[in-house]
């Protein structure tokens, strides 16, 4: 079994609208897979199909090497999930909420206290969830997902609506899961910075299509730095550089080298200096992941 999750041409249509289009998702054991895309891109629909909440219109899903349509319950036994907003029974206490779930998944009672401790809700376990803050409800949702010590954790926008402190707390918790419990985590978000800080690999979805899927390192690689050269009369300078045949952009007072190798930069600078241009500044600028994300999703939208 090479992949924990492997989907093949997974699609879902609602009437004429195609919410998920031919997604081939691959998640390896021990990864924190960031599932990234703007709202309405198809993340939640994909996750619902992975959890067997929705049936795929076409394509297949293999989890732990088994087909979900044939082995749904067996697969779900090893998955913990939190889909979108946390679900809970407001009139029950935190402890009772977990007890409801515990009753059907056959784990010892002590496990409830363990997970409450992990998400730091032990102090309020006898309080009704009705009065909890959103962050506490979200943490309770994560506790519920961890209750049966799943091998795979699927979290859909787990930091939605949390304050910065809550986000950091959840992030640290999620990051620790693969090493502490050997879990594989699939986490969706519409925030790139979020995924950048947690994930080890990334899938980017836009308009129902997976437009990128690779390691987070690969994703950062795409965000190659560019060199900005500020000089006197950038327009004229750029004319000079046409002879060297390197990809560049020209702005009012600067030239942007898009694929700057060392030789290329050296070449450009020496050319400019020899032709009498004044070079004020040569600086490296990293493209933010936001820019790359936008570029990818735009590509997806143009298709």
């Amino acid at each position: 079994m090479e992949y924990i999750i492997e989907t093949k041409r997974l699609s879902k249509s609602f009437g004429k609208e195609r919410a998920v289009n031919s997604i081939n998702m691959r998640i390896r054991q021990g990864e924190i897979y960031g599932f990234l895309g703007p709202n309405g891109a198809g993340k939640t629909t994909t996750i619902r199909m992975l959890l067997g909440l929705m049936k795929a219109s076409s394509g297949s899903i293999q989890i732990f090497g088994k087909d979900i349509t044939k082995n749904k319950l067996e697969i779900l036994r090893d998955i913990g999930s939190l889909v979108e907003n946390p679900s809970y029974y407001p009139h029950l206490t935190a402890y009772e909420n977990l007890e409801v779930i515990r009753k059907v998944i056959n784990v010892p009672k002590e496990r409830i206290d363990e997970v409450l401790d992990i998400v730091r809700l032990t102090d309020v376990k006898r309080k009704k969830v009705k009065g909890f803050s959103l962050g506490m409800k979200q943490r309770l949702g994560i506790a519920a997902a961890l209750l049966h010590q799943p091998k795979l954790l699927i979290l859909d926008e787990p930091t939605n609506g949390l304050d910065p402190a809550g986000i950091i707390e959840i992030r640290e918790l999620i990051k620790s899961l693969p090493s502490r419990y050997g879990m594989t985590v699939l986490i969706s978000s519409h925030l790139l910075s979020e995924i950048d800080q947690m994930a080890t690999s990334v899938g980017v979805v836009s308009k129902g299509e997976l437009v990128f899927q690779d390691s987070i390192g690969q994703m950062r690689q795409i965000a190659k730095a560019k060199i900005i050269i500020q000089c006197s009369d950038a327009m004229q300078a750029s004319q000079l550089l046409k002879g060297i045949e390197i990809p560049l952009e020209v702005e009012e007072d600067s030239i942007h080298l898009l694929e700057p190798t060392n030789e290329c930069v050296a070449n450009v600078v020496s050319t400019l200096v020899h032709k009498g241009h004044q070079v004020y500044r040569v600086q490296e600028v990293k493209r933010s992941l936001e820019e790359i994300f936008l570029q990818m999703t735009e590509k997806g939208q143009r298709r």
């Binding site: 619902r48 959890l51 067997g52 909440l53 929705m54 049936k55 319950l73 067996e74 779900l76 036994r77 998955i79 999930s81 939190l82 889909v83 979108e84 907003n85 946390p86 679900s87 809970y88 029974y89 407001p90 009139h91 029950l92 009772e96 007890e99 409801v100 779930i101 009753k103 059907v104 998944i105 056959n106 949702g141 519920a144």
Partner: protein
């Protein structure tokens, strides 16, 4: 699996006043007779030679209405407890079959109504005794008056649980239920096939057992249909 599910469902309805509701129904039905007999006992006793039987038939007049109203509220409740924070998605993503989830909801409602029917039988007996209707208690009629409507209304439990689960707006399901109660009140004038008529035990053959058999049979069919449909649907 199903016993674990039932135990979880019992915990879910904690503090929701469902047991109180199960008690309220039979208390209400007998309380109406307390008013009835309290106001005009002498007149009522003069209406028949068999005072017990007459009393029991008076109680039975309101039993179907209370049952239908009760089952509408209970089934709707069983769905809305999940709808409230869309807990369906969490519940269904657990390693439990959707069909058994549906069955567990049905069983909870059936048990609550059964308890109501037991309480009804006890209260009917106790109040009847205080009325001094004689020593000859018609046990069979007492039990059939208390439990036949229950069995006949199980078909409606199947129907309403299905409505409650597939219609997200519980206002709609409750409205359908209220309509059912009204239909039930007019059932004397309706044909035998009308499902809301069954708990009244009225039929052309004058044999209440027919309603019981049809009620239970249809309950099984509607339960299976509801289960199949629930299993087929995507969880939003």
């Amino acid at each position: 699996m199903i016993t674990q599910l039932l135990s979880a469902e019992w915990l879910k309805i904690k503090r929701k006043g469902l047991w109180f509701l199960a008690l309220l129904g039979p208390v209400g039905v007998v309380a109406l007779q307390m008013v009835n007999y309290g106001v005009r006992k002498d007149y009522l006793l003069s209406q028949s030679d068999d005072d017990w039987s007459y009393y029991l038939s008076n109680v039975a007049g309101f039993t179907p209405l209370a049952l239908v109203l009760g089952l509408v509220i209970l089934t709707s409740f069983m769905a809305s407890i999940e709808n409230e924070t869309n807990a369906w998605k969490q519940w269904i993503a657990l390693p439990i079959s959707k069909m058994s989830v549906y069955v567990s909801k049905f069983v909870i409602v059936a048990i609550l109504l059964f308890v109501s029917s037991c309480i009804l039988a006890i209260l009917t007996l106790l109040y009847g005794k205080t009325l001094g209707l004689g020593e000859n208690i018609p046990w069979l009629q007492l039990l059939s008056n208390s439990f036949y409507p229950y069995l006949a209304c199980l078909a409606l439990v199947g129907l309403h649980l299905w409505f409650a689960v597939i219609i997200p707006n519980q206002g709609v399901t409750i409205s359908i239920g209220i309509m059912g109660v009204i239909i039930c009140m007019m059932s004397y004038y309706l044909p035998d096939w009308v499902i809301w008529k069954w708990p009244t035990l009225i039929n052309d053959w004058n044999n209440p057992l027919i309603n019981v058999v049809i009620g239970v049979g249809t309950a099984i069919i509607l339960l299976v249909i509801g289960m199949w449909d629930f299993n087929r649907r995507d969880v939003a």
